[in-house]
């Protein structure tokens, strides 16, 4: 954003400066003066001036002015503490509290409530309101996740504006008017959506509270820690609330990260934390020996694992979706110190896409300034949810939106929609070229898995963007760990082959069960051909049920480390809670294993591990925990590869399988009981033509079979789809979906479709 000219003005008798156009509220805050607010929230759009809390005196202007909507002007004389201002503040607060139930002792918001805080700081302290208060039925469940207390509501419009303008689900509305105004859903049904929990953070009173957090803790009993969400590749900055060693709440940070999530979280990220104390959490180390299974302490389990590692040659370290840079680095180090050791990661082998990654990259925050936002493939609304809000924001500002790809996505209605034939993304390049050439600051978001399957499209896209000054790109894809592990040079897609070829001895799984996911059957077969399995895991899985040693790991909520987001931003995880007593951080376990194998790694803290990683790997050169700080730091971009890989051929017969991410369909959503009510079971969709050809009109069960597996799912016709594909939602263990049909590298595959 261009620097704005500073303006000099008078604030309570002081001469101060602020950039031109800054609203008085913000300008005053820059100089340590708090002007109380309720409705003002710049992330929701232009100010609305409804609550009247921020009235100040501006010399020469008649009456009091709302500081939230009055920009600073040269030589303006502003008074925020004068008697008329004090009167107005007393007045507004007394009026707010007149009908407010004042049930602070039993209100979840009590202790961290802006209404409370501002009443103490700016209010009259007493009330003269002696009339009966207004009543509403309460509490109501606005949804399974959100409780609504209409008596506490001060009608600040924040939640309504979020729903109407930011998430644009347009479901939260005011009903009635005047003093009888209350919050409701337009549909009369539950408030459902992908981002509903943000209204809890936005609510300045206890009207909207979290159902899972309801009556669980008081603010003065909890500890809050800034951290990062590890449930997808976006890397939203979060705040973790813990009490007595348990994570009890996840919220957006009070100081949002403007480059990433801007304070918004998706409901999956916000309500996934109950899994940290769910029934399948591993809390006790386990050794399986000679057909027997025994619970041991961590010391013994690590010792035993050390013996397994030292005894066998060619250990293989496989890193999963939440592995940190530190864990990846230690796995590499250990692999290098042990004979024929290797380290690999799950995920899509997509080094060929470095041709795109090498181009000028954008942060999510840069979407705000783009005049064209093009999404090529994927479905960010489901797979990288918070991206959706950024794109909607750009659309609201007037940017052109182009959604390109085979799937139906929630962003389709935003502007230009180019629906491609399954597997034919390359056909969009022409449309995209015209759009990009006509734009000054285009941002193109491209999907890793889709483009890895169509390298020719990636090359064409790279050629288009490389020639455009001002054009930038964002990769959509991977998991929380992917970009960090890739930056360490840890390859994807190699270890399965090594296992099949019996070149892996001891198999060390770090936060991963490869049998639950694409190519799960192949992995299960391959693991029968490796040596003993050491599982470093936080949750039970098929792998931990068969591993020789299970080392309970901390979750990303409980440990330190660095994750690199899909935009290449290194950010710090912080321990919000200590985690179960029998568990340890993955990095700590790996260091301990190094000692047990006689190849000690000299690190005692994750900070040291990261420093060593930064020393050894160019992508992290010059970085440390301090330089990453609270808001993160970009890692170095890769160089473009010499040549593009050949396009992979789709195995199997029938329709091309188009995997469709489902925000509430994955393992995260399945593990959290808070999300039980919003979980979606996997489904399949077909284009009209295909359905007719296969005699599948109407809804019903279909049986899908690919060379990698088969599955029976309910199917429906989606008339918006183009023929040639079967669109299958991704699922997870317990409710499997498209991953059952996919090859281990998520490459293209075809499946036969028949009525079940």
């Amino acid at each position: 954003m261009p620097e704005r000219e500073p303006v000099t003005f008078q604030l309570d008798g002081r001469t101060v400066h602020a950039p031109a156009g800054t609203m008085l509220v913000d300008a005053a805050a820059m100089h340590g003066v708090e002007i109380p607010i309720f409705c003002y929230e710049p992330r929701l759009g232009a100010p609305i001036g409804a609550c009247r809390m921020c009235l100040v005196e501006v010399e020469g202007m008649r009456g009091l002015q709302t500081a939230c909507s009055t920009p600073v002007a040269p030589d303006m004389v502003v008074r925020t503490q004068s008697e008329p201002v004090k009167q107005a503040q007393d007045g507004v607060l007394e009026l707010f509290l007149g009908n407010h139930p004042l049930d602070c002792p039993v209100c979840d918001k009590g202790g961290e409530c802006p209404l409370q805080d501002r009443t103490f700081r700016f209010g009259p302290g007493t009330t003269r309101f002696a009339e009966p208060k207004r009543h509403h039925p309460k509490p109501l469940d606005l949804s399974s996740l959100i409780a609504l207390d209409r008596e506490r509501c001060i009608a600040c419009f924040r939640c309504v504006r979020f729903s109407q303008d930011v998430a644009q689900d347009r479901n939260l509305v005011f009903e009635e008017r005047g003093g009888r105004t209350y919050i409701a859903t337009a549909s009369g049904e539950e408030y459902d959506g992908r981002f509903t929990g943000n209204v809890i953070d936005l609510c300045p009173v206890g009207a909207l509270t979290s159902n899972p957090y309801r009556f669980v803790a008081r603010p003065w009993d909890v500890k809050n820690a800034p951290s990062v969400c590890a449930h997808c590749s976006v890397g939203c900055n979060t705040e973790l609330t813990a009490r007595e060693g348990r994570i009890l709440r996840v919220t957006g940070r009070p100081q949002p990260n403007p480059a990433v999530e801007e304070g918004w979280l998706c409901d999956k990220g916000r309500f996934a934390y109950p899994a940290t104390f769910g029934p399948d959490r591993i809390t006790t180390p386990l050794i399986r020996e000679g057909g027997e299974e025994r619970e041991v302490d961590l010391e013994e389990a690590v010792a035993y694992a050390g013996v397994l590692l030292s005894r066998g040659a060619a250990p293989g370290f496989l890193l999963g979706a939440t592995a940190t840079v530190e864990e990846g680095f230690l796995a590499l180090e250990l692999a290098a110190r042990l004979p024929n050791g290797t380290a690999g990661r799950l995920g899509v082998p997509s080094d060929g896409l470095d041709v795109l990654r090498a181009l000028p990259a954008a942060e999510l925050g840069d979407i705000d300034g783009a005049d064209l936002v093009a999404i090529v493939g994927g479905d960010p609304a489901n797979a990288q949810p918070v991206v959706e809000l950024r794109v909607r924001k750009a659309a609201r500002r007037g940017a052109r939106i182009l959604v390109i790809g085979p799937r139906s996505t929630p962003l389709d209605g935003l502007g230009g929609r180019v629906r491609t034939e399954p597997g034919r993304l390359v056909t969009c390049i022409e449309t995209l070229t015209d759009a990009v050439l006509g734009a000054a600051s285009p941002v193109v978001l491209w999907d890793e898995a889709d483009l890895a399957n169509e390298p020719q499209a990636a090359v064409r896209l790279a050629e288009l963007l490389a020639g455009r000054a001002g054009a930038r790109q964002i990769e959509l894809g991977g998991d929380a760990s992917t970009a960090g592990l890739r930056a360490l040079g840890i390859p994807a897609g190699l270890m399965l082959g090594q296992a099949v070829a019996q070149r892996i001895g001891t198999f060390v799984a770090v936060h991963v069960d490869p049998t639950d996911g694409p190519g799960g059957a192949e992995w299960a077969a391959a693991l029968a051909r490796v040596g003993p399995i050491i599982a470093i895991a936080s949750h039970r899985s098929r792998l931990t049920d068969r591993a020789a040693v299970v080392l309970p790991a901390l979750t990303p909520y409980e440990q330190e480390g660095v994750l690199v987001s899909m935009t290449g931003r290194a950010q710090r995880l912080r321990a919000g809670a200590p985690g179960p007593g029998g568990a340890a951080a993955g990095w700590e376990i790996l260091v301990a294993l190094s000692h047990r194998t006689g190849k000690p790694l000299p690190y005692r803290t994750p900070r040291q591990v990261f420093a060593a990683a930064a020393e050894a790997h160019a992508a992290f050169a010059g970085m440390s925990y301090d330089t990453i700080g609270d808001l993160g730091q970009p890692v170095a971009r890769p160089a473009a590869p010499a040549e593009a890989p050949p396009p992979p051929a789709a195995a199997g017969d029938g329709l091309l399988v188009v995997p469709c991410p489902a925000i509430f369909g994955d393992a995260t959503a399945r593990r959290s009981d808070a999300l039980a009510a919003v979980r979606t079971p996997p489904r399949a969709w077909l284009a009209q033509d295909d359905a007719e050809r296969l005699g599948l009109n109407g809804d019903g069960l279909v049986r899908l079979a690919s060379p990698h597996g088969e599955i029976t799912l309910p199917a429906a016709v989606d008339p918006r789809l183009r023929p040639g594909g079967v669109f299958v939602a991704l699922g997870a263990d317990g409710a499997p979906g498209a991953e059952s049909l996919l090859p281990p590298d998520r490459g293209p595959v075809r499946a036969s479709v028949a009525r079940a």
Binding site: I48, L64, V92, N99, F129, G179
Partner: protein, 432 residues
Amino acid sequence: MPQLNLVYRHREAGGPLTELTAYERAGGYRALRETLANLDPDETLYQFQRSGLRGRGGAGFPTGRKASFLPKDAPLRKYVVCNADESEPGTFKDREIMEMNPFQLLEGLTLAGYAIGAARGYIYIRGEYEHQARILDRAVAQARAAGYLGQNVMGSGMSYDITVYRGAGAYICGEETALLESLEGKRGQPRLKPPFPAVAGLYASPTLINNVETLSALPPIMERGADWYASLGTEKSPGTKLFSISGHVMRPGNYEIVLHDTTLRELVEDIAGGLRPGRRFRACWVGGSSVPVIGEEALDTPLDYESLQAVGTFLGSGGCIVMDDSGCIVRASLRLAHFYRHESCGKCTPCREGTNWLERLLQRIVDGDGRMEDLDLLESLFGRMSGTTLCPLADGAVAPIRSALRLFRDDFERVVREGSPRPEPMMEATVA
């Protein structure tokens, strides 16, 4: 005591002018025809300014000046919106225009559209005016068929059409920005200003909003000349004004009078037939319910903007509500408080909560449960409600009650002590 029917042309004609032919026979559409033939838009706008016409909806802002605020070179379409959401208690003057003389409104709306270069005019009419909306619909259809609306109006090359849009009966939608929200299909609530409608109004485009009576005054101004119109009344209050007189008078109704030439006493005693026998004048809300109440001592005030302001009230909408000595001023204040509480949109805290508190307080006082300190509380509440909100609704709630408390303090104190007995049923009507 001159009455002069310029806006109420039908009264001169002796019957309703709901047919285009009848309106034209009564001199209608001559102004538009001659304006289109002889004046360019800027010259037309200049005539509006020269006439001194002030907005008749209540605020009294000079009409020509308001129209001149619209940017001349904006790339966006411009709109004229007619505020026909006549909801001010005691005000029913626009209803008669739309019912009896609808073409004059259409002609005025077209003249305004021509002056600012608008492509379309809207008439936002309150939901309860169903009959009037039908008459307007029919009039628009006739005007269109005659070539007075649509492509190439009267062969002048001007392209202009009018849409009648029915509101849902909210008082707040008479506030111009809430009206625009409602017209755009949203919840009727005032917008933050700036930007003002002249810059970003309907669909964020430059918009001129005027009251029915204001627009209906344009044809006679163009017909007889701005100078002639300006010669009526005073310099600051030129022209004629409609008064809706209601309450304790023998001949309630609408009357069009030349500003300044009539006093309140003449309006009440002569034009409206005086009070009921044996009754004495007590109080009057001269410009609708949102203006300060005045008492007997103000009866000889000439009816114009500046004279009424000098006695502490406003000309407002001209909805003159008269109360004789059979009424209770506290009970009347409660009734007004009830109205404003019911009509507050709820956007601004001081209005949403303040009108609610105000009604409850007055109810308690009327019920005989008041305390003397409640009167001080009322005064404090008025201070916190007025001047702190987006739109004037809260000020409108405060003005009549605050003035009543000041002017009739004795009555309030008596009611605090004794309560207020239920009055004869004449004034009682409840809004849900």
